[in-house]
């Protein structure tokens, strides 16, 4: 196999059509350059240059090999820089998981901010429930998750992104919408309830159960997606507790009622990541992100 030096030598001679000047350009003397080219020609198995003791010319084979040689040199020069960029986190791929509910409010601004910090990094988005995010963060399939508690603080570092109150989603025109005062637990104790799945949406389920007296007999549907819940409310299947950002969904036929202050434990959304970071893009993001958060 030939060497990059031989290629560079050949390119220089092919461009100068003069061994002496080419050697000068390469910061070497003419004799070794001559031998370099001879060796290259022997390796290729074809005459690349026609020397005439007076002038140097490219053969046809030399012309096509010159293109290949230039291409090789260009590729060889580019190859390390992309590797360097990735190693330093300025480029690469960042895989982010997010829950459906986080998409409405925080995801857009967050992505903008990420793009500002690491513009050359491709962001790969996957919608996943918290549990799936956690398992994928552990296997390294995901770099960053936008998820809800609980998660293991030993394994994961985190940053609270957002907290919001729960509101009650009711079908438009529902009697409760005409109430002059704030609604209280008694007001919906007989309402059919669309509830979070205790398995898929454990966090919401626990939060709601902890906060409010739920009559389990009232539960008419158990779902895991906020969007599904709101759609079911719009279809007058019942009422549902959803995070405040669900009001941004713009689903027709639904109204949102604030809950009494006491019943308002906040829904939290955290950015979480494994403490043993391997993706340099994430390291870089975190380093610069902490400031932006203040």
């Amino acid at each position: 196999m030939f060497t990059f030096d031989q290629l560079a030598g050949f390119i220089a001679v092919a461009e100068e059509l003069h061994f002496g000047r080419a050697a000068e350009r390469l910061n070497m003397t003419q004799p070794p350059l001559s031998r370099q080219i001879q060796k290259l020609e022997k390796i290729i198995g074809a005459e690349l240059l026609e020397r005439d003791n007076r002038k140097v010319q490219l053969t046809n084979a030399g012309k096509t090999f010159l293109e290949e040689a230039r291409r090789l040199m260009a590729l060889a020069e580019r190859a390390p820089v992309s590797a360097r960029r990735i190693a330093s986190g300025r480029s690469g791929v960042l895989r982010i998981g997010f829950t459906a509910a986080s998409g409405f409010s925080i995801l857009g601004p967050l992505l903008e901010e990420i793009a500002a910090i690491i513009p050359d990094v491709d962001v790969d988005l996957q919608e996943l429930v918290t549990g799936d995010q956690i398992s994928r963060l552990m296997t390294g399939e995901l770099d960053l998750g936008l998820a809800r508690p609980p998660f293991d603080r030993e394994t994961f570092d985190s940053h609270l992104l957002y907290q919001e109150a729960l509101v009650l989603a009711v079908p438009a025109g529902h009697p409760l919408t005409h109430l002059a005062r704030d609604i209280g637990p008694k007001d919906f104790k007989d309402e059919p309830l669309i509830m979070h799945s205790p398995i898929q949406a454990r966090y919401f389920y626990d939060l709601v159960v902890r906060t409010l007296p739920i009559q389990h007999g009232n539960v008419v549907h158990t779902v895991s997606q906020v969007l599904t819940m709101v759609s079911l409310v719009a279809a007058k299947r019942g009422v549902a507790f959803v995070p405040h950002s669900a009001t941004l969904l713009g689903i027709k036929g639904v109204e949102f009622l604030p809950l009494p202050e006491g019943g308002g434990e906040q829904v939290e959304l955290h950015a979480i990541w494994s403490r043993r970071i391997t993706n340099p893009a994430l390291s870089r993001l975190l380093r610069d992100f902490e400031f932006a958060m203040e």
Copy 2:
């Protein structure tokens, strides 16, 4: 600048993930290989491999550099042959990229036709996905691609070679094969589905999603090669939408069912080439080929 030996060393280690075995493969001993890689990393300016005294792993930078290294080696191996061929009196080389799926049907006849038009030109074939073909067409590493939309019509001229319908591949003896009538969307709405990768096989993915109502929950595998899909179907992992030419593969244990006419948007295969042509063999081919196509 690094050397080709270093690249070959790195590729071997990256593939074996073991210095000893890699050294054996390269017909050398392990110590110089270690130093070779160290030196390469120093030149690149980034850690490519993570050594753990027990196992070797690629870093992210290493993964991308591996691709570049393979590309460089492939280019370096091909470069001399075209020069040799020209020196030995042939008039040139035409480099054609093709997707795996296009190989079954169109490639053979096309090559015959090319041989008839430019018999003194050697054809160099490479199997590449559409995206890689496009980037190589732009760098000049490829002269002609057999690829699928989308591609930039400004940069590339093209000619529609072939279009074919999608069919549904199912395991032999599958209940759907006993259906008397044509199958419809409802028939496979509960079937586990082997889907195209939205990244690697974007064209197929978009086409299928656009054409048929896909239940994303049914997707059990995401792959990029038609052959892989058919193999998975044969292994009874699910059903898959594949182009009609896949029936020519001859994989046992798979049957192909036609889809209803309405659901049959056609899969297209184009010959594409850069508008700024430098290869004279390609110019000659295109000039005479247009007539042959009528």
